[in-house]
Each structure stands twice: as structure tokens, then as C-alpha cells.
């Protein structure tokens, strides 16, 4: 009898133990004391690194398909012979703008992006035959094909180095003709920065840039800041661009600011007019309002409207650093100002 009682007891005990383990592997959630997770350290003592983003920063565009449009304006050309000028009405500038900027290395301690861009600018002159440069622009427009790279290297939780380069082929070439690769124009930026907290980062550096239409070397100030209210912020890499950002919510932002856009474009069609290695120094200061909104998840639409101020549209020969002197250009041209609009659809980064 005792053996039977012992047997039944053991069976019940076993069932209890098995049942207990079954309960322990159950996934029912229990209330947790989260304070226990505050006092902790990294398992292998590894370093922490800062990120390049501040709160509510505008999204990074992985792929962008856009269209740029300028209203009519007067284009005043210095005559090739140097005596006097010719003013022609350009009815419109327009063209597509494609861009890609994809992270190829993306870790906490390294961020490397590679990019590609393709921009077109078409002209529509009244009586373009009155000046050879107008004829060239009307015939082929201007194109830029470029590749770019950006490296963000955080050194620790507070300091970082940011460097970027661009290699662009600009000119009046048509596809698939392209240009000699030797005409590639290289620009770049190197910045040393500080991330003070989640709402502020800034840095100082130097850039080689074509944004004023020709090669130049300029100091750079990087400044990204979000105000404590999280409704307003500043995104600037001065002097290239600066924006005051208004965040309505995580899917809708507006920006008020400017961008200086520029390149030097090889105009091969002027060779027959006695100007060898002609390059159009084109630079525009664009003061604008930008509205960006998420259509669905990572698909964003961007609309820009603003004023295009002519910074430089002179013609020179070759690619050279003029410094800040006032040497005469081969042709000194002028544009009246215009309104501009830009619309793009973008796939943004996580």
C-alpha cells in the first residue's frame, strides 16, 4: 500500500514540476520595474559614438526624381568681338533632376554614402541665332552628370569628421556623347564637428567648390539645431545653403532659406567662334520656401518655390582658380532675375 501511495505521490510531483516548467516558458508579460535598466554598462566596454542627426532633421533622400522650372527672363550677352552686348528673351529654363544617395557602409562608427546625379537645363530663346552662346544653349542645353561620396566618421560621443567629394561632368554635351573625362570637375569638403546634444551639432571646415560658378576655396560652417520646442530648427552648411525649418509633424515640414547652386560648364559649340575651351560660369542664388510631406511611409514629395538671383553667368576659358580678384572674363554676361519652381518625389532613408 505504501509503495502505491509513494508511486502516486511521485507521479503528482512530476506532473507539478513539468507544469511549473511549462509555466516558466509561458510568454505572458508581467509588469516590469524599468528603473533596473538605468544602471548598466556596455558588456565589452566599447565606445559610444555620436550620430549625424539632430532631432527632427529633414529626411535624407535616397532616390530623388525631380523637375526644375524657371520663368522667363532677359539674358544679356557680351558680343563675341567684345563690342557691345545683345539682350535676348529666354522664355523658360526647365529640366529633370535625378539623384541617388545610398549608404554603402552604415555602422555606428562609420557611415559611407555614394551618390549619383543627373541634371538637365533646357533653354528656349526668342531669336537665339543672334548670339552664338544663345544658339549653343538652345541647341543642347546644359547637363551635369556626377558621382559623389560622403564619409561621416564619429570619433566618440561628441566629435566627428565629415568629408565629401563630388566629381561632375558639366557642359553642352548630349547623350550618349558625353565629354572627355579629363573635363571632370572635382569639389570636396572637410569638416570637423561637435555634437553637443541631440538637438545641436556644428562644425568648421574648408571646401573646394564650384558653387560660385568657378573653382574656389571657402571656409565652411556646419550648423544643425532644433529648438527645445521641437517646432523649429536650423539646417545650414554655410555658405552653400541655410534653412530655417518648421516641423509640423514627423511627416510634414517646411523650410525657409537659400541655396547657392553653381558649376562651370564646358561649351564645345563655341570652338568655331574662336573661343577655345569655353566654359560658362553659371551660379544662382535661390531664395525659396520648401514644403516636404510624406505621401506614404518613405515616399516623400517636395515642392519648392522661390526667387532665382543671378550670381554669375560669365564665360571664361578653361578651369582655373581666379581667387577674389576682378580679372575680366572672356564674355561678361548678365541675367535679369526670375521665379523658379522645383518639384520632386523622393524615397527617404530610414
Amino acid at each position: 500500500m505504501f509503495r502505491y501511495k509513494l508511486g502516486i505521490t511521485l507521479i503528482l510531483l512530476n506532473l507539478t514540476i513539468v507544469s511549473t516548467f511549462a509555466q516558466e516558458t509561458d510568454t505572458t508579460e508581467v509588469e516590469e520595474d524599468f528603473s533596473m535598466y538605468a544602471d548598466a554598462e556596455l558588456a565589452d566596454g566599447s565606445k559610444r559614438y555620436c550620430t549625424f542627426k539632430v532631432f527632427d532633421q529633414s529626411p535624407n533622400k535616397l532616390i530623388s526624381v525631380g523637375y526644375d522650372f524657371q520663368t522667363g527672363y532677359d539674358f544679356t550677352f557680351q558680343n563675341i568681338q567684345g563690342n557691345g552686348s545683345t539682350t535676348l528673351k529666354n522664355r523658360v529654363n526647365h529640366g529633370i533632376r535625378l539623384g541617388a544617395n545610398v549608404p554603402v557602409i552604415s555602422t555606428t562608427s562609420w557611415l559611407v554614402n555614394l551618390g549619383f546625379s543627373y541634371w538637365e537645363t533646357h533653354y528656349d530663346f526668342e531669336n537665339e541665332t543672334a548670339h552664338p552662346l544663345a544658339q549653343a544653349l538652345e541647341n543642347s542645353g546644359l547637363r551635369t552628370i556626377g558621382i559623389s561620396g560622403t564619409i561621416f566618421k564619429p570619433l566618440n560621443e561628441k566629435n566627428f569628421v565629415l568629408t565629401s567629394f563630388n566629381a561632375d561632368l558639366n557642359g553642352d554635351y548630349t547623350l550618349p556623347g558625353f565629354q572627355d573625362a579629363g573635363l571632370t570637375r572635382i569639389s570636396g569638403t572637410l569638416v570637423y564637428g561637435w555634437k553637443k546634444h541631440d538637438r545641436l551639432l556644428y562644425g568648421f571646415g574648408l571646401s573646394r567648390s564650384y558653387r560660385i560658378g568657378e573653382a574656389n576655396y571657402l571656409p565652411v560652417i556646419l550648423y544643425n539645431y532644433t529648438f527645445p520646442s521641437r517646432k523649429w530648427g536650423v539646417e545650414a552648411i554655410f555658405p552653400a545653403r541655410a534653412n530655417l525649418r518648421r516641423t509640423f509633424n514627423t511627416r510634414t515640414i517646411a523650410m525657409f532659406g537659400y541655396e547657392l547652386e553653381g558649376q562651370t560648364y564646358r561649351i564645345n559649340q563655341l570652338t568655331n567662334n574662336g573661343i577655345a575651351n569655353a566654359e560658362l560660369r553659371r551660379s544662382e542664388l535661390r531664395a525659396r520656401i520648401t514644403l516636404e510631406r510624406s505621401l506614404k511611409d518613405f515616399l516623400w514629395v517636395s515642392f519648392q518655390a522661390g526667387f532665382r538671383y543671378d550670381w554669375n553667368i560669365n564665360l571664361d576659358e578653361g578651369d582655373r582658380f581666379r581667387g577674389f580678384g576682378d580679372d575680366a572674363y572672356r564674355l561678361e554676361n548678365d541675367l535679369s532675375n526670375a521665379l523658379y519652381f522645383n518639384f520632386s518625389i523622393n524615397l527617404v532613408s530610414p
Binding site: 507521479i11 513539468v18 516548467f21 510568454t27 548598466a40 558588456a43 559610444r48 555620436c50 562608427s109 560621443e157
Partner: protein
């Protein structure tokens, strides 16, 4: 007869006990507390059924500008916008695929209110590469998370 049943039960129980006390399977190495690359948050990953999930258990800045605990105010679902971020399940449905890779999951970014496809790769016992992406992994961003050890009180 009873002795045989008893022996069998002891054997079964021993197997269960042994299974419980064995080293965790490689797949379960994902469980634990991890700190995100920015150091802004810590995430506790657990196994729930057959999948792995992770919830926020610590925030460097736990309160909003009004001094109140942060809530999921950016969630596209209005009903979720009052839910506290502490305890929020930001990793969902990860399945172990072998070679220290967990896939088919999603990661939620409370700062943008967006949910991304996600793959987790354990590069060493204390490091995770967490890659959120859109559609294909090329269009994504990897954040490196570090395992944290809780200090005993």
C-alpha cells in the same frame, strides 16, 4: 510495473531539467538588453513563442519638454499616440535564420513614427548590426547595438 513507470518519469523529468539548464541555443543569444548606437535607448529582447521581440526599457531622455513621460506621439495610428514609449515593442516577429542572423522582423522608429523591415546580425556575442530597410536591404541603414550588463544592486 510501477517501478518501470517511475523510472520513465524520472528519465523524462531529467531530460526536461537538462534541457532547461543547458547553454542557451545560438538563436537565444539574441535575448538580453541592448543599447542602440546613439545611446539614446536600451531595448530588451525576449523570445515570445517562436519569435523574438524587443521593447524599450530605458531612455536617456525619458521625459518630454513638459516633464512628462514620453509617449508614442508620432505613431500614425492615433490610438497609439498616448502609449508610453517605455515598454513599447519596437522589434517584432524576428525569426532565427541561422548563422547568427534573425530576419523577417520589423523595427519601429518612434522619432519618425515609421516601421521598417529589419534584419539583425550578431557580429560578436555583444554586438548586433540592426539594419532597417525599405523593400530591399540596399535602401537602408545599419545601427550597431551593444549588449549591456545590468549592475547588481
Amino acid at each position: 510495473m510501477l517501478r518501470s513507470i517511475f523510472s520513465l518519469l524520472i528519465l523524462i523529468q531529467s531530460s526536461l531539467l537538462f534541457a532547461q539548464s543547458d547553454k542557451p541555443a545560438v538563436a537565444d543569444m539574441l535575448t538580453g538588453v541592448w543599447e542602440t548606437g546613439s545611446g539614446k535607448a536600451r531595448v530588451k529582447i525576449d523570445k515570445v513563442g517562436d519569435v523574438y521581440t524587443g521593447k524599450i526599457v530605458w531612455l536617456r531622455e525619458p521625459n518630454n519638454e513638459e516633464g512628462k513621460p514620453k509617449v508614442d506621439k508620432n505613431n500614425p495610428d492615433e490610438n497609439m499616440r498616448t502609449k508610453p514609449l517605455l515598454g513599447y515593442k519596437m522589434l517584432q516577429n524576428f525569426v532565427y535564420a541561422g548563422d547568427k542572423v534573425w530576419e523577417d522582423g520589423t523595427i519601429y522608429d518612434p522619432e519618425s513614427g515609421s516601421t521598417y523591415s529589419c534584419t539583425i546580425t550578431m557580429t560578436d556575442d555583444n554586438t548586433l548590426d540592426v539594419r532597417g530597410y525599405i523593400g530591399v536591404t540596399l535602401f537602408g541603414r545599419t545601427d550597431t547595438w551593444k549588449r549591456v550588463m545590468l549592475k547588481k544592486k
